[in-house]
Symmetry: C2
Subunit: 249 residues, 2 copies
């Protein structure tokens, strides 16, 4: 069905310390789904060389594409480029085009060693445009190395996704109600078995004493999703609920 898979590797102590709520996994998941690429795993590792190298090598061997976020700035804790070079056993070199972009952004007089360090990129890597703050991401093999700052990451990702092998977009239909999922479980399992090409999930919520339930079907075949939505809505009605159906999450 879907030919391309992907993993995200979030690199950053700030996520694991709880300081920062990661939002990049969610952004990447949505943009990949729209491009027909299934996000199959996400990992968060600290700014520790051997942890980054091990994760990059495990993930790039397992998935079509790997997207990393974080650790490509100018400070001591930005070690991603050096780790990627070691993971691929390739040396870091000053990338002429990256130097040119940084020179244009900072003016030559302001291009101090820390800033120039952001042009140190594994030899042979391609650049990923950074329309926000000039310092580029880069790509090597099936790995895409992007910034951690969310708006910069999102802009880089848009540039990357345009270059990837696309499949049909992964679509979703959601059937909301207030019927408890445990009442529906047996019927829901039957419907899920009837549509093996769809992922059908059940997501309850409990807010201020009110039970909410979202049944979500996901797949690439719009007609099949419509059939499944009809079946889910009919099931909700059989159990006394009032379904609302929307073709979105």
């Amino acid at each position: 069905m879907l030919s391309s898979t992907a993993a995200v590797l979030v690199i950053g102590n700030e996520i694991l310390s709880g300081r920062t709520q990661d939002v990049n996994i969610n952004t990447i998941a949505k943009k990949l789904a729209a491009a027909g690429i299934k996000l199959s795993e996400a990992r968060v590792v600290p700014d520790i060389e051997d942890r980054i190298i091990t994760a990059v090598n495990e993930l790039r061997a397992s998935y079509t594409y790997v997207f990393t976020t974080g650790g490509i700035g100018p400070t001591h804790d930005d070690i991603t480029a050096a780790c990627i070079a070691k993971a691929f056993n390739i040396r870091l070199v000053e990338h002429p085009e990256a130097v040119a972009r940084l020179t244009a952004y900072y003016t030559p007089a302001n291009l101090n060693p820390a800033r120039l360090g952001m042009a140190l990129i594994p030899e042979g890597a391609g650049l990923i445009d950074n329309p926000v703050s000039a310092a580029p991401g880069f790509t090597l093999g099936n790995v895409y190395i992007m910034a951690g700052v969310p708006n910069i990451m999102a802009a880089m990702l848009d540039n990357v996704v345009a270059t990837l092998q696309h499949g049909p977009a992964i679509l979703a239909v959601t059937v909301n109600s207030t019927v408890p999922e445990s009442i529906l479980a047996a019927d829901l399992a039957t419907i899920a078995e009837r549509y093996p090409d769809l992922d059908i999930g059940s997501y309850p919520s409990f807010r201020m004493g009110q039970i909410g339930l979202a049944l979500v079907a996901r797949g690439t075949d719009r007609a099949m999703l419509e059939q499944a939505a009809d079946a889910l809505a009919a099931m909700i009605r059989r159990h006394g609920g009032e379904p609302t159906v929307s073709f979105a999450d």
Copy 2:
């Protein structure tokens, strides 16, 4: 220094599809830091048996504690308990106390097979209280299996953390300014080298054309953090900035 480490395993297609923004990793990170336990890794895997089993077994061999979220409800996509049983090579049994709690919550007449299924727990596991919706989490070895719904997860985690081996709380001090990090990089690296027992990170933000910079030092020694904060603030002033210091993230 810190004797206990931890990993989070988020189990759920809804995170990888982009439907749901995970917030549990962040909640767990903060509560563990307060308890002096360092979150060392987080992973997100789909609702697929062998992926869950592999991840659980890798993580429980590598860290002091493993916390899983998601997949313990009554529906077909809730396969976490069965996967944990397989990961430990232990059979699933109906846990008498879990049955009692579910019976009390649902009344015996409403305890259908799907609901009763939430009492199927690996033999020998301990229960984790669920004050919101009765169906308990459980713990086996060094693995803590919790709900995915954020408010239920948070309540379960509070019950768990009280039972864990605590270290001194991991504290943070943040020095905010609007000085670009690339100007500070060399001086910052010097300060980071002077405090090898602290994690010192540099987190820029770019919002509406305005650069912000948070320098964050993290560690268990309050006096050392105060010294580091003074050094960071002095550095900001040397570079023409106006630092604001807060003992928090």
